[in-house]
Amino acid sequence: MDGFIHALSAVTSWQILLAAGGGVLWGILGGALPGISPSIAMALLLPFTYDMSPLMALVMLGSVYIGAEYGGSIPAILIRTPGTNAAAATVIDGYVMHQQGRGGEALGLSLTGGTIGGLFGLILLATLTKPLSDLALMFTPPAYFALGLLGLSIIASVSEGSMVKGLIAGVLGLMLATVGTDPLSGVTRFTFGEPELLEGVHFILVMLGVFAVAELMSKLADNEPDDLVKPDTVSKLVLPSLSKLWSLRRAQAIGCAVGALEGPVPGAGGTVASFLSYNEARRWSKTPEQFGKGSEEGVIAPETANNVVTATALVPTLSFGIPGSNSTAILLGGFLIHGLQPGPLLFSTNPDILYGLFGGLFVANIMMFLIGIVILGPAIWLVNRPRPYLNASILALVFSGIYSINNSIFDLWVVLAAGAIGYVLRVLKFPALPLILGLVLGYMIESNYRRSLLLTQGDHAVFFQNGVSAFLMGCAIVVLVLGAYTEFRRFRREATA
């Protein structure tokens, strides 16, 4: 109850409202720019928060995080360019909807889903911090390994009809993930002495190449006549009606559940949550065949999950003082600079700040919805300009964004190479998603597999003895068996046809 009062007093202060609104607006812009990740958007504002009151500074940083994680979906839907890592799953159906002239609807779904997810996550965070932090502690190396495998098992369902090609793409992604410093011994692998590769291949580079650049290439190869602008039949933002939202309740519930379970686990993050909830939404959907062809559930599920994570990812930061991602690391920096030590004691020493932060972030989510309504219309107008101008702007935007990740010319070459490879994969009908999944999850899987074996002196039984690990492995096996069965049935059908 005291917490509620702290939260209320925070949101009635105009400085906090200003911090929340300004932070969200900045975050959406940053998130919408490919390459400007949520953490970079936050880092850019960090120096300006030094002179603010601690609460105002933290609300501002948290609001940037929320806005940025949402903002990534805008270019994902409109130009097949995920603005943030976690928006990769939204590309699949969001961009198809846009191509069908339903871009305004897709944006409405992602905005509404994101807001609902964000608010739901905050309520969880404020009421269930302790159980959620216990959940984070349950993730030991075997559990992380199993979580990675579960993520990888999605390959089976995203490459239906071309299982061999999907697996090949997945293996190529895993191979890319082995570039860099070996997680256990520290020797370098496949870096060819290049220091830029010491920390591995950043997957946003590959994602932008495979999605954005390759899309541009296909557009040009198809030789679309100039000036044939296919206007979005509804060229303005369309917010889903309540009955529409109700009809999508299952996908949203899945997004909320996955986000709630994934978010508190350090290192798992929004990207894995988005993919897992996309996959689950498809499995439990009444119309799974619509996925990949402009499914509304395929947009709202990952977007809901992704924004639940913006709240639940704060659990390890607040209750252990351990950031689970780059973004929360900067938020932690915000605490430390103001002399606050996140950790078990924060809840008793500074409840005003903590609950004030929750209150401020609640307002930030609502502001995100309002700001979204204002800016999405112009965004849709912008992508309906003549194709040549749009092509040029996308490429310039991608290159500038990539450069800003690392101030690196080398990274630009990586994106070009990824674009060329992505295009070849597309032409040869290899699914691109397994490649991304392999790259995202390879490190988690390998390092935790080897850590687990170190712990048990090589006994593999640990993966089934550990409760969390056994459960996740079970899920992964179910996904794989179902995938293989569908593939087998397809073969049979074709053979008899």
């Binding site: 993730f139 011994s185 002495g193 220091p195 010491l198 950043h202 950790g343 800003s404 101030n407 690196s408």
Partner: protein
């Protein structure tokens, strides 16, 4: 947790006003850049920002902190090596810039830079869960002797000092433990808290919250003397285990800095370390002030590099 993939490079330039400083223009530059490869809010970043705040008035200079991330410090070293040696740009050093130089072939390595001063050592500490039976490092040694490879020690990254000191620990004590590497200090804490590892190695700053809450307990420090903050915690040396870790924090510049610039820094830093406000900050952080002038800092870096090189060679950790 996994910052490996995040090489966000960006420049967070804090706006500073340069009018006040011009009055005390002893130093050849009114604005001096401090480069770090740490991200905003990270250890070295916060340290440099605090330093700017307090050293600015002392030296009559405006400091601007610039985060040049990427390549484990390779980018930042290249920036420094290509900058003029006139005292307008410096680099906040930590052991990782030496390690990166040894483990890959960066465009510029630590030998292309010249240490200016050393300021602190970050004390390396051994910790356990509050309810652990271990009271000091001797307990760990005894347990490890009776159960070879069964005691699990969590350390941060594979090429970190924590890792190196635990490998040395096995040689010095004649024990065999299982050393579990992680992606960073945060993961180490989680795996000690959840019981995956029985012992963790880390730094005070990241442990403070858990220690104050009584969830974790320090059992030993790898320092020359006991820490002021934790006078009851024994050093490894006291327990007959001769291991001292000198995780340094200092400043380096491009090679060939003019003598007056170096002198200005040596004097400035000594004043800074005595400054009561700055002192209050670093004492709270749990770092040990360890001022060394340029000669001392050079010797420290060289000695450290030799040790690390020997360690990497012994375990065949090397650049391709």
């Amino acid at each position: 947790m996994k910052y490996r993939h995040f090489l966000g490079a960006l420049v967070a330039v804090s706006a500073t006003v340069s009018l006040a400083a011009e009055a005390l223009a002893d130093y050849p530059h009114s604005t001096v850049k401090l480069v770090t490869h740490s991200s905003p809010g990270g250890g070295t970043d916060v340290f440099l920002r605090k330093l700017s705040q307090h050293l600015g008035p002392i030296m009559g200079v405006n400091f601007v902190v610039e985060n040049v991330r990427g390549g484990g410090g390779a980018k930042a070293m290249a920036v420094l090596a290509n900058s003029p040696a006139d005292g307008s740009i410096f680099y906040g050093t930590t052991p990782s810039y030496v390690n990166t130089s040894l483990l890959s072939s960066p465009e510029a390595s630590f030998t292309d830079l010249d240490p200016v001063v050393n300021m602190f050592y970050d004390p390396q500490v051994v910790y356990v869960r509050a309810n652990s039976p271990y009271q000091d490092l001797t307990d760990v040694v005894e347990d490890a002797k009776s159960r070879p490879q069964q005691v699990i020690v969590a350390v941060s990254t594979p090429s970190s000092l924590d890792r190196q000191v635990m490998e040395q620990f096995q040689t010095v004590t004649g024990t065999e433990v299982t050393i579990l590497t992680h992606d960073g200090g945060g993961d180490v804490i989680l795996n000690v808290l959840n019981g995956t590892a029985q012992v963790g190695i880390g730094e005070i700053a990241e442990l403070r919250g858990q220690i104050d809450a009584g969830e974790l307990r320090l059992i030993t420090t790898y320092t020359d003397e006991r820490l002021d903050l934790f006078p009851d915690v024994k050093t490894a040396k006291e327990q007959g285990i001769d291991l001292v870790v000198r995780k340094f924090r200092g400043l380096a510049g491009p090679k060939g800095l003019p003598e007056d610039v170096v002198t200005a820094w040596e004097e400035g830093i000594q004043k800074l370390l005595a400054d009561p406000e700055f002192k209050a900050w670093y004492e709270g952080e749990g770092v040990i002030p360890a001022y060394l002038d340029q000669e001392g800092a050079r010797a420290l870096t060289a000695e450290f590099a030799t040790e690390m090189k020997a360690f990497f060679t012994e375990y065949n950790i090397q650049a391709e």
